[in-house]
Amino acid sequence: MPDALAIVANTAGKLTREGLRVMGRGATALPGLVALTLDPDFISALSRELPHGVVCVSGTNGKTTTSRMLSDIARATGWAPIHNRSGSNLDRGVAAALLADATWSGEPRGDLGLFEIDEASLPGVVGRVRPRAVVVTNLFRDQMDRYFELDALARRIGDALAGLPAETALVLNADDPLVASLAIRKDANVTYFGVDDDAVGGNVPQAISDATRCPRCRSPLRYERVVLAHVGVWSCPTGDFTRPARDVSATKVVLGPRGSEVVIGGVLASMYDEIRVPVPGLYNVYNALAALATARALAIGLPESIRALANFTPAFGRLETVEVNGKTLRLVLVKNPAGFNAAIAALLETGRRPRLLAALNDRDADGRDVSWIWDADFETLAPAVEHAVITGLRGRDLALRFKYAGLPAEKLAVVDDPAAAIEKALGLAPAGSEVVVLATYTAMLALREALARTGAVAPFWED
């Protein structure tokens, strides 16, 4: 039973949540903020009560998809995960998820905590919740105004993980040298995942590489294959740091417009299992591998995990689709160069000529510095674009990015109002066609709110 202060905080948070819902508003963060203000230890007080423990899912990209996949897997084995599902993944989102699923006396109704943790918050959060497992999907530059530099962030995360008990399961991406470098302790309990299909990726390091040097000795890393940015088959020429053996590995990957077929091998796979990842894009293959590796670390069987994955549906803005007047909007959340490049690679894989609605905001949750758009590969996207409607608080910067990437002015329209921008984009698209919506977090929320007013989607986002 949680202590009195936690119960008070829980009650106050729940009342806030009820209030917001009565007003028809989403409640993904504010109730958590209220609870944390009253009791800074609220998260640990409630998560101690969870019999299967807590899994923290962190990393720059893929947190939401990976933890949703893991949540589906946990539910398929009969567990009841409590998950901060709405992508509100700062401390307050975790607290909001806990209190939403707790009784009024502060006892959780679930048995497993499944928390997406913003990578900058991870070092602080792991000490408080004592997780059973920590997953790190990848580390790319993201929102430099908030996280600052990647090397320093990786060191802080590594130090925090080294301070956890040795039995804590670490689930790490072997193909990302920065993530692989997070296992500092010799006796760390690590499950590694990665892609071992030679046909995936090229051998030219990409311009946005964030880790061109060995995290240990700073020699330039050598790449046999580059999958995305600095993720791939890497080695340090001095031999002091090598890509770890993969416990869960994709030995064959076939990408398709609606999903991927993947053969799973690796040390932990007892046989070569073929799986289907029902969301497109190589980055979602990585997310699926992270979820499978975590399931193994939690002693959930591979066959059950694979069955649960096959029925997976994407989350808010992660290639989610919305039907409006016989046309489809495909919502793609973008927030950093690596995520943007992965998303456009998925869009262009099947040779589509996308009709775009693109929105750039610069609020805290988006990253206040919009410079990152200049590192994203608009030069690859622009020649394929049928037309682009641009909106958002910094839509003029985005329009300028398209101009410098070579998109002709007649294919580009800037519409400041989100509702008017949706209308314009839908108006330009023929019946039965698809409009791809690329937007940063709060820009996507604004577009969603505008869609809600037309009745196309539920008034606030909830699973």
Binding site: D145, L150, D210, R213, R218, R368, D369, S371, W374, D375
Partner: protein
């Protein structure tokens, strides 16, 4: 006519989205019928250091900056100084700006010498300056985003690029931002800077082209989109510094 751009340490010093400066210089040349080529120059031996008309030097992580500082302390620093003496221009941002100065003074330990191309010194500061940055200058306004903890102070040979309207700029004390010395510019403007500050892009283009060409007259471009981006960014900066 053709333009040669040398991109300094693109593998170590391009984490802050400064690549747009190289894109802006290239595209604004091409739109005027001037061929533009970009070559990388990084740690190790440089091929043809006398080739570039203009250098771009962006911001990096501390770790990368150590490697770059050590590299510039050797032959490559000498090559860069020679290049400037022979008429090449430099545009530098943040870490690149600091490394072109005379020295960097860390919180503890001895001062680290810089390339000595700009008469500026930088001292480590505690509080990081993170936010929108609006600058006014006699030649036109500038807007961008700053993200630095170093405090930069100008010596007598350098003049400020402009004065701070919103944000902190060089050091948060004297209201100056950036430095100009001959054809070398340093500043703290990410954004990327040059796309939405086209007058500065064209100034650098002019300087760069004059190195090998006579009678350089840049044709006027339609800068409506550039100025719209500058206006929006400036309004945002004033509302949410």
């Amino acid at each position: 006519m053709d333009l040669r751009i040398g991109h300094l340490y693109p593998d170590l010093m391009s984490i802050y989205g400064d690549k747009g400066n190289v894109i802006a210089l290239s595209q604004r040349a091409r739109w005027r019928g001037i061929a533009a080529e970009v070559r990388p120059y990084t740690v190790g031996e440089w091929r043809e250091p006398e080739w570039p008309d203009v250098w771009f030097f962006g911001g990096g992580q501390d770790q990368g900056q150590d490697l770059v500082g050590a590299d510039l302390a050797g032959r490559n620093g000498e090559s860069l100084r020679k290049s400037v003496a022979s008429g090449a221009a430099i545009f530098s941002v943040c870490g690149g700006y600091q490394l072109l100065g005379t020295e960097y003074v860390p919180e503890v330990g001895a001062a680290i010498p810089g390339a000595g191309i700009l008469d500026v010194t930088t001292r480590a500061g505690r509080k990081r300056f993170v936010g929108n940055l609006v600058v006014d200058s006699a030649d036109g306004p500038l807007v961008g985003f700053e993200n630095h903890s170093g405090r930069t102070y100008l010596g007598p040979k350098a003049v400020p690029l402009g004065s701070v309207v919103v944000g902190n700029g060089n050091n948060g004390e004297d209201k100056t931002e950036g430095a100009i010395q001959g054809k070398v510019i340093g500043c703290y403007l990410h954004g990327s800077c040059l796309p939405k500050n086209p007058w500065l892009a064209d100034r650098l283009l002019q300087w760069a082209l004059e190195r090998r060409h006579t009678d350089v007259k840049l044709a006027k471009l339609d800068d409506e989109a550039e100025l719209a981006a500058r206006t929006q960014a400036t309004e945002v900066a004033q509302a949410r510094p």
